[in-house]
């Protein structure tokens, strides 16, 4: 991946054109400059589209984040400095969604990463005949979040949903086990369904996201695992290292770039949670699944006031938060390398 690419070809082509060997003359260098300038033509369409549809909106949102601005009354917009940012920090309606999102991240990301790593390691150990298994395990990845959210709303339906019955069974078994140990019941799946209960709704959404997305992480881990040289393990076996030590001293360090990537992507994805609760619970019950991005969306498009200025501030705060998280993850990842 060297850049600039091999310089030799620059002189080769004009030589072919006039049938003489190239000399480092003014003509060649003019040809070379003209040739390289053509690059602009190839880059231009993408650049125009990108500037219009991505760069301009990014800059515009940044500007809006300092205005009290609604799209309904563009003329009454006024500059308010950092007011929007102060409001987003101090307004209580923003705190709850932030904590809900953090709660979702805390229950979702560890399972999302650790289970994916375990499954990937198991798939990697299977030498033959695992194609059907892999296909089955990866299939949910191609189902769109909206379809899978509607699907799981049915799945969680208290009257007929299979997931509802399975969860009830699992919780019942856990309660019986707890009773054997002399403890009281651990909990119960609500009769009205998982999504209608404020303590369970986010867990239900997290389970659905796990089903829908874990295949991506498994694929990433598999790619990372396959890159680890087999010799390392062979040498470790010769040295008499146990399976656990091989995992701890070879797999984990070798995999650390992949782990970094997966953790980062999972954290960012979790923090942007929007569609699934929007479809499955509309933020309810009692706002218990109202996430940060949903709050942003509501401010901008739902509450009828189209407060694009304030919503822009929320969007930029999210960008800043994600940026901070990526720095943090990068820092934590260092010592493992």
């Amino acid at each position: 991946m060297s850049y600039p690419p091999d310089a030799a070809r620059d002189v080769c082509v004009p030589a072919a054109r006039d049938g003489r060997l190239p000399s480092r003359s003014a003509g060649v260098s003019r040809w070379r400059r003209r040739h390289h300038r053509k690059g602009w033509l190839y880059v231009l369409p993408a650049l125009l589209l990108f500037t219009l549809m991505i760069v301009y909106p990014i800059v515009r949102s940044f500007y809006l984040s300092f205005l009290d601005y609604s799209i309904l009354e563009p003329d009454s917009a006024r500059f308010v400095g950092l007011d929007n940012y102060a409001r987003l920090l101090f307004q209580r309606q923003n705190h709850e969604p932030f904590w809900h999102t953090l709660y979702f991240t805390a229950i979702f990301v560890p399972a999302y990463v650790v289970l994916a790593l375990l499954i990937a390691m198991m798939l990697n150990r299977l030498k033959r005949g695992s194609v059907a298994l892999r296909t089955a395990i990866f299939t949910p990845v191609v189902v769109s979040l909206a379809v899978s959210a509607v699907m799981w709303t049915l799945f969680y339906n208290p009257a007929f949903g299979l997931a509802h019955k399975m969860l009830a069974g699992a919780v019942g078994a856990a309660n019986r086990a707890a009773a054997l140990l002399g403890a009281g019941p651990l909990g119960a799946v609500p009769d009205g369904g998982v999504l209608a209960d404020r303590r369970w709704a986010m867990i239900g959404i997290a389970l659905m996201c796990l089903w829908n997305g874990i295949g991506i992480n498994i694929i990433l881990f598999l790619v990372g695992l396959q890159r680890i040289p087999e010799e390392l393990y062979e040498a470790a076996v010769v040295d008499g290292a146990s399976g656990w030590r091989r995992f701890w001293h070879i797999t984990l360090p070798q995999l650390s770039p992949t782990i970094y990537l997966v953790v980062l992507l999972s954290l960012i994805g979790a923090f942007k949670l929007f569609g699934q609760p929007f479809i499955m619970t509309a933020g309810g019950p009692e706002d218990s699944t109202l996430t940060y991005v949903m709050r942003l969306y509501n401010l901008a498009f739902r509450y009828g006031k189209f407060q694009l200025g304030y919503a822009s501030a929320l969007a930029y705060a999210l960008a800043l938060f994600i940026f901070g998280i990526s720095l943090l993850v990068r820092k934590l990842n260092r010592p493992v390398e």
């Binding site: 190839y42 515009r60 395990i137 769109s144």
Partner: protein, 288 residues
Amino acid sequence: MAVESRRVSATLWVILLGVALLSVMPFAWVVCGSLKPHLEIQRGNVWPWQPYEVEKPAGQHVTLDNYRKIADKLSGLPTYYFNTVYLAMAGTFLTLLVGSLAAYGFAHFRFAGNKLLFTLLLLTIMIPGEVTLIGQYELMFKLRLYDKIAGLLTAYTAGHLLLVIFIMRNVFVSIPQDLVDAAMIDGAGTWRVFWEVMVPIGRNGLAACAILTLLGIWNEFLFALTFTSTEEVRTLPVGITMLKGQWGLFNSGVLFATVLLSFLPIVLIFILLQKYFVRGLSAGAIKA
């Protein structure tokens, strides 16, 4: 040693089989539910071996009525489908074309500002889509693209450009210079080099980009929800949430069938092209 390793791999098989079953079960369950009338579903009789309890004729197990209702145009599903397929195909084509041309420009031409421009593009990955969303929403009105398929097409194409540029730039840079030279000695201009050297050699990379873009557009929810408001321009992800409200309470069987029809094509394509999908997904993720 051999006995032990056989036991280990048997254990792995059992665990993974369990994981695979959990992954596939929701699909199977939706297929079953789509074959049942509403009242039977509400009574919990979703499986095909459970006979009707309240619905007539008694003793029947399954029906295709739900699909008939969808085919009778009682549902907006065909429109949503058409829009999504159109957007996915046109968007993927446009993104690949514009993106790989730019990637070629970045990879093989040393024009002034090449590196700087590329770095600036790289920096924009840090900005989450939610930031662009608000600016783009306003822009949609200014460009008269709000509530139009063309608006979504532009947004999606622009939104997936970076991915294609990054992947394809890496692919094009690794194409041996000798091949380009050979083509140019034969009198090919840069345009022909692109089509006759870059594209054929980079086809694996292009396939990976196509899959990522296709999946991205097929699944996109937030922008489609924000930039459209009428039935005619709804995409499948947004439309199905509307159908959830429309069918969920009084005709859950039709909702089951709708869900099934929404995931069936993409799941079938995935099973057929599994290898390419996995390769594409991993290529994209490594870039990110």
